[in-house]
């Protein structure tokens, strides 16, 4: 069954307290080489038949992400 992956990330200008907390922990745990962490969501969808790109884009942009603060990256099976 075709798998579609959608990554939802905070818009760059929106603050990301979760990523900040992970970055802080990495510093304390001795990984100073990591200079930035942003945390988003990762959805794996299984779709029946041939995925309809337009429909999936709409799902990603309006349901999986909050367009006020988040951006979406859609990975269709053909990608």
């Amino acid at each position: 069954m075709p798998r579609v992956v959608v990554d939802v990330v905070l818009k760059p200008e929106i603050s990301d307290p979760q990523g900040q907390a992970v970055l802080g922990a990495l510093g304390r745990l001795g990984h100073p080489g990591v200079t930035s962490v942003r945390q988003g969501k990762h959805f794996v969808l299984e779709v029946e038949g041939t995925p309809d790109a337009a429909e999936l884009r709409q799902i990603a942009e309006t349901l999986l992400a909050n367009p006020v603060i988040e951006d979406v990256e859609l990975h269709l099976p053909s990608d």
Binding site: L10, K11, P12, E13, I14, S15, D16, P17, Q20, A21, G24, N66, V68, I69
Partner: protein, 605 residues
């Protein structure tokens, strides 16, 4: 070839971008400025030019415009507050209206500070974050007074319970109130949840916080002491909530410039929890002479208010402000409403100790300026002076409107509404009342709130008032209730406000507490509509007269205007909070029957 976008706050001189400095402003009187887009009227812009004796710089214009906005200056509502100021003095009032929150003496050397504030519009745009940052903002107001925040309450109003948009905003707002308050470790001890079509496009989110301190711990927002340092601490500054000033950007950014800044702020309750603990340690070690939180209007507000309340001037070096986004311009840094930030005035000898406390709590802290002699607020950016203003004119010199008022034309018709004429009508009315979601079980909401944290919650949901213990040895306690009824206020705002006050007062009294003080949040439509302005004035007058009759001071509050969908205003909605004290909290009285065979008495008329 891509052109470099010109930053806002710069102007083109002979093709070379040039920072809009005070010096430049003095020699370029004719430069056109987007004051109207920033919400300033021509006469207000003219007044700024007169105050400064020149045109404002871009940064100054941004500061004045946001500080003179309705939200920050209360320019439409302020004239009506004299009703509160005229109330007889109360012995219990330690700090009255004007500071971040009022402070009340509750006995045994304890002082309590409490206040309710709205976050209506942001909660409609982004329900979770809007509600969350509403809680965060009111908690910082309480903290700023020197108190440990000890509980929150929330008063919520939505459109019809079965409307699709209610299904969008309600769960997010409830989760946001809970998510932020729970993570801060503040018990939620009560609130309201009401539905009415008038709130469909404009839900109300009013959050209350209460804090406790010893009398000697009260802190004020003022910058005193020549040479004392200005310390900014908490979160980094980003491009949050500067939607309004983005016109400054659009004016100079070309199509390839950065996108319009978001108007949405994201809350970080963890950082706020660290701020609370760091501040309380800083207060305990007596490390600050003045403190202010950064809320609406961010640094513009904090610097101008601190300087204006102090005796001297203030200088800030804006390049030292820690940024989350290095593309921010000076005006944007001054406007940013990034959450979880505070500004303190610290004696030079105590700065190191102050910074050490912040390090212990992982709170970023930076010296950004100092208290100067003279009476100017000056701000430098990239080595140039971009702000040089009398701070009082920014913080308190805003315009004062006497808006026209008229009694709503439909009021006689509404008030004349006849009683039900038949038993069938009565039956229908009765069914409507008993099946209203307003009367439904609220536990879907209240179960999402932590009521137990800190271990001092004596009464909370579903009681009529929240009751807290404030001293484990003496058993002293306080009670709070938050009530509002927009339908009563729509029918008669004067009496409606008094009914709300009376309800909150009764709820506190029946818990066994002695009512001491009042806070309020006035949620109304557009002040430019004379009928709304009349409703507002009547509600304020009604509340003040009610407080006079009950012998209570109004310690503070908040006004939220422009609550409307299109031209249709919400019902006028004064939300009233009453605080009471119990000398022995073990003698609180819960609601409801407790045991078989008890006698039922009806009091009153």
């Amino acid at each position: 070839m891509t052109a470099h976008p010109t930053s806002p706050g710069t102007s083109q001189v002979g093709g070379v971008p040039q920072l809009d400095t005070v010096e430049l402003a003095a020699t370029t009187a004719d430069t056109e400025q987007p004051y109207a887009e920033l919400g300033l009227r021509p006469e207000e812009y003219q007044e700024i030019r007169e105050i400064l004796g020149r045109r404002p710089t871009t940064a100054e214009l941004a500061m004045y415009s946001v500080m003179w906005s309705e939200h920050c200056s209360y320019k439409s509502s302020r004239v009506h507050f004299r009703h509160f100021a005229d109330l007889p003095a109360s012995d219990a009032l330690l700090v009255g209206i004007g500071e971040n929150a009022g402070v009340v003496d509750v006995g045994d050397g304890y002082a309590v500070t409490f206040k309710v504030e709205s976050h209506n519009h942001p909660s409609y745009v982004e329900p979770y974050q809007g509600a969350a940052t509403g809680v965060g903002g009111i908690v910082r107001d309480i903290l700023t007074m020197g108190a440990r925040p000890v509980a929150v309450m929330d008063s919520l109003r939505f459109g019809a319970a079965d409307a699709p948009d209610t299904a969008r905003v309600l769960p997010g707002i409830v989760a946001g109130v809970g998510g932020y308050g729970n993570c801060l470790g503040l018990p939620n001890i009560g609130g309201e949840l009401l539905f009415d079509d008038c709130y469909l496009g404009n839900p109300l989110v009013n959050a209350l916080c209460v804090g406790v301190m010893r009398h000697g711990d009260i802190r004020l927002a003022k910058a005193e002491g020549l040479g004392n340092k200005v310390v900014l601490f908490g979160a980094r500054t980003g491009g949050d909530g500067i939607g309004g000033v983005s016109v400054l950007a659009s004016e100079t950014f070309d199509a390839e410039g950065p996108a319009k800044r978001p108007a949405v702020q994201v809350g970080d309750p963890f950082t706020e929890k660290l701020l609370i603990e760091a501040c309380l340690e800083i207060f305990a070690a007596d490390l600050v002479t003045g403190i202010q939180d950064l809320g609406g209007a961010g640094l513009s507000c904090a610097t101008s208010e601190l300087a204006s309340a102090g005796t001297g001037g203030m200088h800030v070096d804006l390049d030292t402000v820690p940024l989350r986004d290095s593309t921010l311009t000076a005006a944007e840094i001054l406007m940013s409403e990034s959450q979880e930030r505070m500004c303190a005035i610290v004696e030079p000898a105590k700065v190191e100790e102050f910074l050490a406390v912040c390090r212990k709590w992982d709170v970023l802290a930076t010296v950004i300026g100092e208290v100067t002699d003279g009476d100017r607020l000056t701000i430098d950016w990239h080595g140039e002076r971009i702000v040089d203003v009398p701070p009082r004119t920014v913080a308190h010199g805003g315009p004062l409107y006497h808006r026209p008022m008229t009694r709503p034309a439909d009021l006689d018709g509404l008030q004349a509404d006849a009683p039900p004429s038949s038993s069938a009508d009565l039956r229908a009315d009765w069914l409507a009342v008993v099946s209203s979601p307003d009367g439904a079980d609220k536990s879907w909401v209240t179960e999402q709130y932590d009521r137990y944290v800190r271990g001092n919650t004596v009464l909370a949901q579903p009681e009529d008032a929240g009751v807290l213990r404030i001293d484990e040895q003496t058993h002293r306690g306080i009670a709070l209730s938050l009530d509002g009824n927009g339908r009563f206020a729509r029918l008669d705002p004067y009496t409606g406000a008094q009914l709300n006050l009376a309800e909150a007062y009764r709820n506190v009294a029946v818990s066994g507490a002695r009512p001491l003080a009042v806070t309020n949040c006035m949620n109304f439509g557009s002040p430019e509509n004379p009928e709304v302005m009349w409703q507002f004035a009547e509600a304020v007058r009604g509340l003040a007269d009610g407080c006079r009759a009950l012998g209570l001071p109004v310690t503070g509050g908040n006004v939220s205007l422009y609550n409307q969908t299109g031209d249709t205003a919400i019902n006028p909605t004064p939300v009233i909070g009453v605080l009471g004290v119990l000398d022995d909290v073990r003698r609180r009285v819960p609601t409801g029957w407790r045991a078989d065979g008890e006698t039922v008495l009806l009091l009153g008329e």
